[in-house]
Amino acid sequence: MDRNEEYKTLLSELEETPLKLDFTLERALARKRSTLRRRRKAIFAPLGSVVAVLAVFVLLVNVSPTFAYAAGRLPLLRDLARFVAFSPSLSAAVENEYVQPMDLEQSANGITARIEYVIVDQKQLNIFYTLQTETYEMLESSPNILGVDRKALEGFSVLSGDYGAENDSLRKITVDFSQGTMPEALVLDLDVYKSDVGVKHSEAPTPASEHDYLFEDSHTLPETLSTFSFTLRFDPNFTATGEVLALERSFMLDGQKLTLVTAEIYPTHTRLSFAPDSGNTAWLKSLNFYIENEKGERFEGITNGISAYGSIDSPMMATYMLESSFFSDSKHLTLHITGVTWLDKDMARVRLDLKNTTAETLPEGVDFVSAKRYDDSWLLEFTATQIKENNSYQVWDWNYYDAEGQKYAFTSMSSTSAGATYSDGNKAEENLFGVRLPLKDYPYDEVWLCPSFSRRVILDTPVSLEIK
């Protein structure tokens, strides 16, 4: 590769930006709010109270092991505040000292794992931990959540991801119970392995290896270096916290009838549960919405974390998560819905003719670009219109069907950034991102895919519902 080609390749690599960059403004705004609040507190604190605080501090350090531990690790608590700055709910929890120090540590094979803090309520647990080593450059981990008797738990989701986390920096695991409530204690098993951060950067996949990657059966994790097992016991004051508002409020949204069943307000999030009407012609797939209180404070939908839960018996997304109003001291809360995404019931499955690259219908903003045959497999390429800069979204669900209704599942899906170059050498437009679907061991010329949505609607007049 000549020098100019190398420059162009580097430029296109730099077009890929990490997801975390999307929330840089939110982190700055949260940090500014926190700084101003601290300044105000500092200005108004009279000298007498400073003396009183010092006296209480000495007393607490002497009588409370928890406080002594937290005080001894104050720099880390600051790290925690910085670490959660992207999340208004967790930031408010930290500012309101709604944090349970854990102080659990285990070491093995040159690796030390520490569980520093948890932020826990009736429904959600956020575990903040560090991995420290002098043996390896970078580490990653994979969590497994169990009951204290080491039996499997049900009705929860786990969200974690510490790819690229630096040695001894904070990492987070979120455990969210969609069914049931938080147990008094649970077990966290943490498999730790060597990170491949450097490897991935220097060995970008070639078209050939990308093809192999797409058609691989599974992508296995590297060899585990250490497994740690921690029993996390929660302060019952934290796990009891939360407020459930039974609403049963029916309303019309873009011609479909929905019922807002409950609003649940926890320190870590707010969750709204909706039920459909049997006469609806479309399933609810997502909402653009926010909650506002009487002071004009807004609590937006969660975008960086668990944002919604599906329904067991239909494609509907029934439960939605928003930032928490728990610490805002709100007397009144109003939900404002400004947009909605539907999946029309007659688009639950759509037929694609692979030989002629045509589709009977496609979700709004999606084009069927190509279908390439590799022996008995196919690679399908689509483009989809971005709705937010540098962001892709799910276009297809994980199952697909043949002409006889036989069900298959994708082994992988991949999306490419806006303006990316496709396998046929064409370049997608700047406002489009690409989606690639491998149909492995699928010899047929037609396939039925399941769209994740069919259309998006921005409402001319928002729908407003009082929830408190």
Partner: protein, 160 residues
């Protein structure tokens, strides 16, 4: 400029700032930290910026200062040092990204801003606080060291 205007403008500049910081510091994590710090500093002082047309160069200046501070802090831990302009063979042997990282600072800054972040030569000069002729000379020297021969068509569009 008020906070809302700042918020609107910064959303379009995040990727550009990230590219600049990434090439300056050489790692994703360090670049994200630098952009976070720069955006926070920009947010805290945006009221001082009276003319929004200078937003891009003003924000770039803040980011570069942040990167310089970061490099000072990391000097002991970073295993990357600048090469002198005379080290032509060493530059030749390095991939473009690493070669940029190891350019002397006075050449690294203009080359990143002009050829990777998409600023015009005039904006590059303004962001660095040097005359346009000086910026152009440094760009030529940097291109020569990197053995890049770029026409205007091949350069990232500065208007984006």
């Amino acid at each position: 400029m008020n906070e809302n205007e700042f918020a609107e403008l910064i959303q379009d500049k995040r990727a550009e700032l990230y590219r600049t910081a990434y090439l300056y510091l050489g790692s994703e994590a360090a670049a994200l930290d630098a952009v976070d710090e720069a955006v926070y500093n920009g947010l805290m002082s945006c009221k001082k910026l009276r003319s929004p047309e200078y937003f891009r160069t003003w924000m770039t200046r803040i980011l570069i200062n942040t990167c310089i501070t970061e490099l000072r802090h990391r000097k002991r831990t970073l295993n990357v040092s600048e090469l002198p302009e005379t080290a032509v063979e060493e530059f030749d042997a390095l991939p473009v990204r690493d070669a940029v990282l190891r350019l002397p600072r006075e050449l690294k800054e203009p080359i990143i801003l002009r050829y990777f972040s998409g600023l015009t030569t005039a904006e590059t000069a303004s962001a660095l606080g040097v005359p346009q002729g000086t910026a152009a000379t440094r760009l030529r020297r940097a291109l020569k060291l990197l053995r890049l021969e770029l026409s205007e068509e091949e350069v990232l569009d500065g208007s984006k």
